[in-house]
Structure formats: C-alpha cells, structure tokens
C-alpha cells in the first residue's frame, strides 16, 4: 500500500493534450475518483498511473518511488478494466493465479491465496469454471480478485461498473467500497457516473478537457462547485446569471434576472463583476407568500416521483428553474408561487 502522487502530468496525442498538467495526491488507503465526461482525460490519467501509457511530461510516484519510466509489470498495481479483461483461455483459478504465477508463487501457497481471495469476493467453488460461464457481476468480482491477489500498492479501476445493469451496479458499488475499506488499499477509480463517484469516494477529482476543475469531498463538490461545468455535471443545477452588487465576508448580493439574491462565496469578487448564482433544485422552496431571498414564479410542470416532486417554475422574466420538493406538499401546474432560496445553499460562480 502506498501514497500515489501525480505531478504535472501531461499526455499529448498527435500534438493535442489529452491530459494537461495534472497534479494529484492520493493518500495511503484513500479512495479517489476521477470523474468527468468521456474524453476528459480521466482514463488516460489512469493508464499513465498504470504504465500503459507513457506520459509526455510529468511524474508518477508510488510513495517516494518514481515509477514514471517503470513498465506496468514492475509497478505493483492491480487494475480492473471496464470489460473485466478476464483471459478467455484460462479457468477462474488460472485467471486469479496469473499474477502469482508471474511472481513465481506456486503450489499450495498459491492455492491458499486463490481460495482466500475467492472467499473475499464470495465466489468460492467457481475455481474450475471458465470466464464465459460467469455472469457480468461474477466476472467483475473475479477481475477484482485477480487484481487484489498480488497485494498491489495501488488499485486502479477503469469504469468497472459501466457494463452492469442498474441493480447489480448498486450492489457492486457497496461491495467495492466495503472491500476497499476492509483492505485499506489506495484506490484510483475512473467513472463518468457522478452518483457512483459520490457513493464510493473519499475525494472526487472532476475533470474536463484534460484539466482538473475541482478536487474535493463529494459533499464539497456538490455544494461548492468550482466552475459552472462542475455544477452542471454533478447533480442538477440552476444557473442564474447576474452581477455582484455587494459583498460582505462570505455573502454576496447578486442582481439577477429573477431578482436580488444572497449567495455564499469564497472568492473576493468586486461589486460590478458579472457572476452566476448556482442553486440546487432541492435548495429552493415553494412558499405561498413573499419572504426574504424569494421571488415570484408560476409552476409550468409538475412530476410526482414518489419520494420527491419535480417542478419546473417560470419566473417573471421567463427563466425556467428546476425545483425539487419532498413528496408531501404538492402544488399544481399553473399555480403562482413564491420561490425561496436558502442563501447558505446558493453558491456564487464566476
């Protein structure tokens, strides 16, 4: 187990940077997700850590060991691929034992360790099956066992749940997290699914176009996104454009098309600068009367989803906001309401 550091990592393909100057530290035993849309460079970053790609510049360190020029077979990593990449011509036992075989571990010692990881992924008794005889979820667990048996310094997972159906994906999510916690292995996880990364990670790294936009805990990234792209990619976000009129410590007053809003901020914005207020759908409440930090609107659409109700509310200037309320209080479409925003949950973006 070791700390993972990525320093000023850049990877260019045919002159275009797939990953541009990335810095990231993953602490020992930490679970970090690289999250972003396809083509954002998250997989390239992971492959550079694995040694399957050679960085154009920058460094990859495991602990204090610079592995930038070390081939993958000598990095002591465990990697799980999106399509599991189980060897089709080997039984489950041989697949899992492959890493041991490469390290010269044979016989009863190998068998003991194979049994123990199979037990860990709850697949005891599957030793002599072939990969094609297993379901997707089972193959996934074999891939995990195969990666973990060699006791790698770092565990790398590349969209491991993308090929599973929704129900199994949820199960495997808990399974992976519990397993990672139990072993305490340093883990780097690539996904484009924000829910997956939130549920699994200690920290999330949000990437767009080869750059890191934000690194932080799931809660922090959700509540305090660093950029508009992050705000839109993680969950749902209402972005209301406006201009800062006043700032006092961490509260800014913003004039927007829907009215004057109070927003939380952590940057020293000058009055007069254009800015965007980000409000999550559940941070807005529908109230009957006018109240502070509220503005009038008319309900355009209403979708009852059981636990919550999804509203589309049009404000006076025509801006349509997405609002979520708990399922008990129901307003009707066409109803004129007042939208109240919790100033602590409104967030100012540049």
């Amino acid at each position: 187990m070791s700390r993972l550091s990525i320093q000023a990592l850049t990877k260019c393909y045919a002159g275009a940077a797939a990953v541009a100057n990335i810095d990231l530290d993953v602490a020992e035993g930490e679970f970090v997700s690289l999250l972003g849309p396809s083509g954002c460079g998250k997989t390239t970053t992971l492959r550079c850590v694995a040694g399957l790609e050679t960085p154009t510049s920058g460094k990859v360190l495991f602990g204090d060991r610079d592995v930038t020029r070390v081939p993958p077979e000598r990095r002591r990593i465990g990697m799980v691929f999106q399509n599991y990449a189980l060897f089709p011509h080997m039984t489950i036992r041989e697949n899992i034992g492959f890493g041991l075989e490469m390290r010269g571990v044979r016989g009863s010692e190998a068998n003991k360790r194979i049994s123990s990881v199979l037990d860990m992924v709850q697949l005891t008794g599957f030793e002599d099956r072939w990969p094609r005889q297993l379901s997707g979820g089972q193959q996934q667990r074999v891939a995990l066992a195969r990666a973990l048996i060699v006791e790698p310094a770092v565990l790398l997972l590349d969209e491991p749940l993308a090929n599973l159906d929704a129900k199994l994906r949820d199960e495997m999510r808990f399974f992976i997290r519990a397993l990672q916690q139990r072993i305490g292995i340093t883990t780097l996880y690539v996904t484009h699914d924000q829910a997956e990364s939130m549920a699994l990670s200690d920290r999330i790294v949000v990437m767009f176009a080869g750059r890191i936009h934000q690194t932080g805990t799931p809660q922090h990234i959700y509540d305090r996104p660093a950029t508009k792209q992050v705000a839109k990619f993680i969950g749902q976000a209402n972005l209301i454009a406006g201009k800062v009129v006043h700032r006092c410590n961490e509260v800014a007053t913003v004039d927007t098309s829907v009215g004057r809003l109070l927003c939380a901020t952590n940057c020293a914005v000058e009055p007069g600068t254009p800015a965007t207020a980000m409000v999550r759908p559940e941070a807005m409440q529908l109230v009957k009367e006018c109240s502070p930090n509220a503005f009038p609107g008319r309900i355009m659409e209403r979708h009852f989803l059981g636990n919550i109700v999804d509203y589309r509310v049009a404000t006076a200037d025509g801006t349509v906001l997405a609002i979520q309320a708990l399922g008990s209080i129901v307003h009707d479409a066409g109803e004129v309401v007042s939208v109240q925003i919790d100033p602590k949950k409104a967030w100012l973006l540049e």
Binding site: L52, M79, A85, P88, H89, F98
Partner: protein, 285 residues
C-alpha cells in the same frame, strides 16, 4: 416422424448440395485413384488385368521414392515455417493498425492471389535468373552471381510468395479476436512482454495459426507448377514425379499409388501437428 428426427432430416437436406459436390468431385475420384493404385501396369490401356500391391511395395522399398517424399515434406515444412515467420508481423500490424492505408495493405497481402501461378513463376524467373534483376543488383556492389533458381532456394522463395496470404489471413483473424485489454491486464499483473506473448497471445491465436499452417503445408506439399518451373527439372518433388509417371511414363497405377502415399503422409503430418497442439487449445471453443 418425431420433431428431432425431422430437424435432423432438414439438416441433412441443407447439407445435401455440398455433400453431393464433395461426393461427386472428391470422394468418387479418390476411390477411383484408390482402386487404380492396386492395378497392374499396362502399355496399351490405363491399367492391366488383376490386382496387386506391387506399386506400394515398390514405393516403400525404393529409397528414391522415400527420399522424394521426405524432400517434399521438407519443402512444405520449410515453406510453412518461413511463411509463419514472415506472416506474423504483417498479420499483427494489419489486425491492429488504425492507419488509413489499411485497405491498401490488405490488398497488398492478397495481391499474390490476383494473378495465375504460372505468371507469378515467370515473374520470379525474371528476378532470380543468373542474369536476373536480383543478381544484376548484387553485381553492381560486387556480389554474386548467386544460383537462385533451378534449386531448392528458388522453389522455396516462390512457394513462400504464393502461399503467404494463406498464412496471413487466418493469423490476422485470430489476432483481431484478441482484446488488447487482455494483454494490458497481463502486463499489470506482472507479465513482461515476452510472457504476455507466450501466455496470452500465442494460446489465443493457436486456432488461427493452426489453420494457416495446415493450409500452407497442404498447398506447398502438393504444389506442382512452382517446383516444375523454378526447379527447371533439377528439383524433384513427389508431385512432379507423379506427373511424370502419369503423363510421361503412362504408369497410371504407380502414379496413383504415389499420389495416395503423398496424401497419406500429408494427412499424417497434419494429424500429428493437430494432436500436439490439442492440449494447448483447451477452453478455446
């Protein structure tokens, strides 16, 4: 009729055209040759009266024919080995390349099949003759001339050229079926490139390799035109000798026996090859 037997009948009906073709043009001639090989020779008819095993006794007791058989199989083996070595990099590149020249490369691989074998042989004669292009080019740097034709070298070169596509194509298909992630997974699990090749790539392309080897081996062992033209009468293989027996000597029964001996030897070689590879191919259904 039960449902199962009805399905069976339908399967047979589907196979019927192919089966009748094979029966008509392969099985019956083979039986004919088989019978012929046990006939006695005649100078006035294709064969004389009565049956005999003398033809086979003659072949198996005459070191001339046994060494011819050995030489023919050696030609086929060397051709197959050279084809395999040359085909592998090409097949690998073709299977994995994303280049826009891929189509052109593919056409290049198929090109030996686009002209008749006689034309191709004459092409090689122009290149390999004592005053041919290759020797002329070598001559300008003070080398040679080398004897590249009318010997085993010339015949092997032409055999390799003509049969290379039959090795490249099945190999390419086999390599295409290998997910590059399998190789990468093996690397991350501690396997250096050589071990990845040995434990992942090689076992997975074995079926393709096997069909390529069988195709080239059979074709090279039964080649007639190439040894004939590039050997110029100085290289003898069983097919050329069989032709002489049939057309020159009019010894049809003996020629038939030679032909069947060659077929049997080739079949036995292939069987041995498949048998040796069988254990390594398990789980590759």
């Amino acid at each position: 009729m039960t449902e199962a037997s009805e399905i069976r009948v339908r399967h047979w009906l589907l196979a019927a055209p192919a089966l009748s073709l094979i029966g008509l043009f392969l099985l019956i001639p083979y039986i004919n040759i088989g019978i012929m090989s046990f006939r006695t020779p005649s100078t006035t008819a294709p064969y004389g009266p009565g049956y005999t095993v003398a033809n086979y006794v003659h072949i198996l007791s005459d070191s001339l024919y046994l060494s011819l058989l050995a030489e023919t199989l050696l030609f086929a083996t060397v051709t197959t080995a050279v084809c395999l070595l040359m085909a592998f990099p090409v097949a690998f590149h073709l299977a994995r390349t994303t280049s826009r020249w891929r189509g052109l490369l593919y056409a290049g691989v198929l090109s030996p099949l686009l002209t008749g074998v006689v034309i191709r042989c004459f092409g090689w004669i122009v290149l390999l003759a004592n005053n041919g292009l290759v020797n002329q080019a070598l001559g300008t740097v003070g080398l040679g001339p080398f004897q590249l034709m009318y010997n085993a070298t010339g015949v092997t070169i032409a055999l390799v050229h003509v049969f290379l596509p039959f090795m490249i194509l099945p190999l390419m298909t086999a390599i295409q079926s290998i997910d590059p992630h399998w190789e990468e997974a093996a690397r991350t699990l501690g396997a250096p490139r050589t071990r990845v090749f040995q434990r992942i790539v090689l076992p997975l392309i074995l079926p393709g390799l096997q069909s390529g080897v069988i195709l080239v081996f059979v074709l090279a062992a039964s080649a007639y035109v190439i040894p004939m033209l590039l050997g110029g009468g100085r290289v003898q293989t069983l097919p050329t000798v069989i032709f002489q027996q049939l057309m020159g000597g009019l010894l049809w029964p003996f020629g038939a026996a030679l032909a069947l001996t060659l077929s049997f030897a080739v079949l036995a070689s292939i069987w041995a090859f498949v048998f040796l590879g069988r254990k390594r191919m398990r789980g590759l259904a």
